[in-house]
């Protein structure tokens, strides 16, 4: 109660001082107005900005102009928003929302919003207490809390407008994704592929927060909102594919969570999102294709109807989540103009699909891959290497590439430039051994069955930042990095791309060649996604979070300094990351 009263005072003050003036942003693909109002910049999830003040010619003079400690140590994935003259930042648990006044020297806070978020959620989040960002729509900042709530906060006043429970931590569900708002619908899903959840996605009403529809990603057609007259998967036929591809009703605990970004095509009126791994990791407890885990699903945002689905990794037995971004771009593939969907999967293949039908146009390895030899374009299925299949009866299967961290982490979204026609993404170069074990289901605890130590992939480097031609399935350039690369990508009309590294460098590079133009050590490893915007002073700025985290399997806990009762040996594949970084969230802003 005292806390609420104190906040009310702050709210009144901020309204009197500074009503932000958000432009008409979130409609279709707007002309660039210098804002960054949604997680991926636009509905197509391109992370491309039309701002062009920063160029390869002048980027060498980029330097930090402002920093702010978030006071939080969890992995700082996601990105800020800039709406009008305000920057909005959501922290990892406890999911504080900060609103910075970009008109004033030092960018003081207009307000901050501190929801009550259960600390119990931390133990239900598989890998770290991350949050992948807010969404601005209709005067509201909408985002998710780790303990299973979606909130809408008035963008002007910071006042809570509604708070809806969407997920249940007792079932192993947490919410880490950024929502997508389409018209009056807020799209959210739950994490929990490591807890055997019955994965779903929901549509809430933007005005009230009430749940309008809920659809599972697996299970019987009725649960999936898949109707025979409207659901047309390009490579499959028949009813209840999401149930019949799982023996013994194992879909009930089959995972297929939603924790990446969602994209939207206004012309086709379809949302696109990827589903995570099938549960448990011991795949012999769920023989079959396990549809629609490790898949991309296309739905109508209004009522959630399923329109098509394509499975990247049938019978996932390597933890190859497909929750990475689905980028929508109009490309020319083999001389044909196509409405494409491009996706870099954890399984190491980059896919180019027809986003109207889900049919596969192209799939090529973008990182070292050996679990499959290729993807058959006629069937859409991988051509498997039988020696790299896992399960209890297979024992310890050695040397599988990529590792379960993925050829790229789904937490590291790619970018697309319509000027260069190239996609930009971080990658990992890790392999693994995979020893599956029987997993027992105990609600609210991990449902995995796995021991999978990692090792460096071939070539003597652990990650890259690279440019990819999705029309031909070809790598154009790559910058090798000494550590797995976990930041998202940004590319601009100035033909400059931006990314951060796990050892804490923030870099700008020439989008056409990869040449490093500037770099700065930002105090902690970067697992967030850079953005750019034009501030009220008319200048172009670039913002990014530092704050290593996001997967303790990768980092071994060796980068932690806050808990004297938790001391770990460095991971043998990543022996000196703690020499270069430790935990801690910092917001950085750069300018020329």
């Amino acid at each position: 109660m005292p806390r609420a009263a104190r906040f009310a005072g702050l709210v009144c003050l901020s309204v009197a001082l500074a009503p932000p003036a958000p432009g008409a942003a979130a409609a279709g693909t707007p002309a660039d107005d210098g804002q960054w109002t949604m997680p991926s910049k636009d509905f197509a999830a391109t992370r491309y900005s039309g701002l062009a003040d920063i160029t390869p010619q002048n980027a060498r003079s980029l330097h930090p102009v402002w920093t702010f400690s978030t006071g939080v140590l969890g992995g700082h994935e996601g990105q800020p928003l800039v709406v009008g003259d305000t920057m909005y930042v959501v922290t990892p648990w406890p999911n504080v929302l900060y609103a910075f006044d970009l008109r004033r020297e030092g960018y003081p806070l207009r307000w901050k919003y501190r929801p009550e978020v259960s600390s119990n959620a931390i133990g239900v989040a598989c890998c770290d207490s991350v949050n992948r960002g807010p969404f601005y729509a209709d005067g509201k900042i909408v985002y998710n809390l780790l303990d299973g709530h979606t909130v809408a906060v008035d963008a002007h006043s910071g006042r809570e407008l509604w708070k809806t429970q969407v997920a249940d931590i007792n079932e192993g569900e947490t919410v880490t994704m950024a929502p997508l708002v389409v018209r009056d619908r807020v799209i959210v899903g739950a994490s929990g592929g490591e807890f055997g959840i019955y994965g779903w996605i929901k549509g809430l009403d933007l005005a009230t927060g009430q749940t309008v529809w809920s659809a599972h990603n697996l299970g019987p057609d009725t649960d999936m909102r898949a109707r025979p007259d409207t659901f047309r998967p390009p490579y499959d036929h028949g009813a209840d594919l999401g149930a019949r591809s799982w023996p013994n009703d194992s879909w009930r605990t089959g995972g297929a969570p939603v924790w990446g970004t969602v994209s939207y095509d206004p012309k086709l009126d379809l949302i696109y999102y990827g589903t995570g791994n099938a549960a448990p990791y011991n795949a012999e407890q769920r023989l079959g294709d396990n549809k629609w885990s490790a898949s991309v699903l296309a739905r109508r945002p209004g009522d959630g109807s399923l329109v098509w689905a394509y499975q990247f990794t049938p019978h996932d037995n390597w933890d190859y989540d497909a929750t990475g971004t689905m980028i929508l771009a109009d490309l020319t593939v083999a001389g044909q103009a196509v409405r494409a969907l491009v996706h870099f999967d954890k399984n190491g293949f980059a896919y180019t699909l027809d986003r109207a039908t889900g049919r596969l146009l192209l799939a090529k390895a973008f990182a070292p891959v050996n679990w499959a030899r290729s993807i058959d374009l006629n069937t859409g299925r991988p051509v498997l290497d039988p020696t790299k299949q896992t399960g209890v009866s297979k024992g310890n299967v050695k040397g599988i590439c990529p590792s379960l961290e993925g050829g790229v982490s789904p937490s590291s979204p790619a970018a697309y430039s319509p000027r260069t026609h190239l996609f930009y993404t971080s990658t990992n170069n890790l392999c693994m051994d995979y020893a599956a074990a029987h997993a027992s289901r105990l609600k609210g605890t991990p449902f995995m069955g796995i021991n999978a130590p990692y090792s460096a992939g071939p070539g003597g480097y652990l990650g890259t930042f690279m440019a990819w031609d999705a029309a031909s399935g070809r790598k154009v350039w790559e910058n090798r990095e000494p550590y797995p690369n976990w930041s998202g990508a940004l590319v601009t009309a100035g033909d400059v791309a931006f990314y951060g590294t796990l050892d804490g460098w923030f870099k700008s590079v020439d989008a056409r060649t990869g040449e490093v133009l500037s770099k700065f050590k930002v105090g902690s490893g970067v697992v967030g996604n850079p953005i750019t915007y034009r501030a009220p002073d008319g200048r172009q700025y670039v913002a990014v979070y530092a704050g290593i985290g996001g997967d303790w399997a990768l980092l071994s806990g060796d980068t932690r300094s806050d808990d004297p009762s938790d001391v770990r040996a460095p991971a043998d594949f990543l022996p000196d990351i703690a020499r270069h970084t430790s935990q801690g969230g910092i917001i950085w802003i750069f300018a020329l």
Binding site: C126, G444, P446, S556, G557, S565, R568
Partner: protein
């Protein structure tokens, strides 16, 4: 002091769990299914010796002793229970830490006495440790404690150096 047995109902649920889950992997189900030792209705209150006491006056409250302390067969069962109850999903294989802390480094966030480790598992802890007492019962929790205490703590070397040796 004899081990805490909160009440009979919990003990009964222990049997159910042992049958449903733990027996699939435990070498010895006989031990798991036997009645919990120390059937006196001892309150499970535990005094944390490391906590500061206001005024220097320690509160009332007892300690609990592990009935299986040092029993290598029980420790072996506990290692299997550690996997069967999905402890490894948070604390990592061999309890060396993942999202949950390392339990084999000889350092303890909530105290390393038998009773304190027992309470951490039985009742859970803030920031994510679920209460396993309901699912495991007293005997199951002691089996896990016995396993964790059997892990050879490495030498406590507070310095991590990257300088040439």
């Amino acid at each position: 002091m004899s081990p805490a047995v909160p009440h009979g109902r919990t003990a009964k649920r222990t049997l159910t769990l042992a049958t449903a889950v733990a027996c699939t992997v435990l070498l010895s189900c006989a031990r798991q299914a036997s009645p919990p030792t120390g059937s006196a209705p001892t309150p499970p209150a535990v005094r944390y010796e490391a906590h500061l006491a206001a005024g220097g006056i320690a509160p009332g409250g007892g300690t609990l002793d592990n009935p299986h302390a040092g029993d290598t067969a029980v420790a072996k069962s506990g290692a299997q229970l550690f996997t069967a109850m999905n402890c490894d999903g948070c604390h990592g294989s061999d309890a060396t830490g993942f999202v949950g802390p390392n339990l084999g480094d000889g350092r303890w966030r909530y105290g390393g006495a038998d009773a304190e480790v027992f309470n951490s598992i039985y009742y859970g802890r803030p920031r994510g440790m679920p209460a396993f007492g309901g699912a495991l019962g007293v005997e199951g929790v002691w089996t896990l404690v016995t396993y964790l205490r059997s892990l050879p703590a490495p030498p406590d070397v507070p310095t991590e150096s990257w300088e040439p040796k």
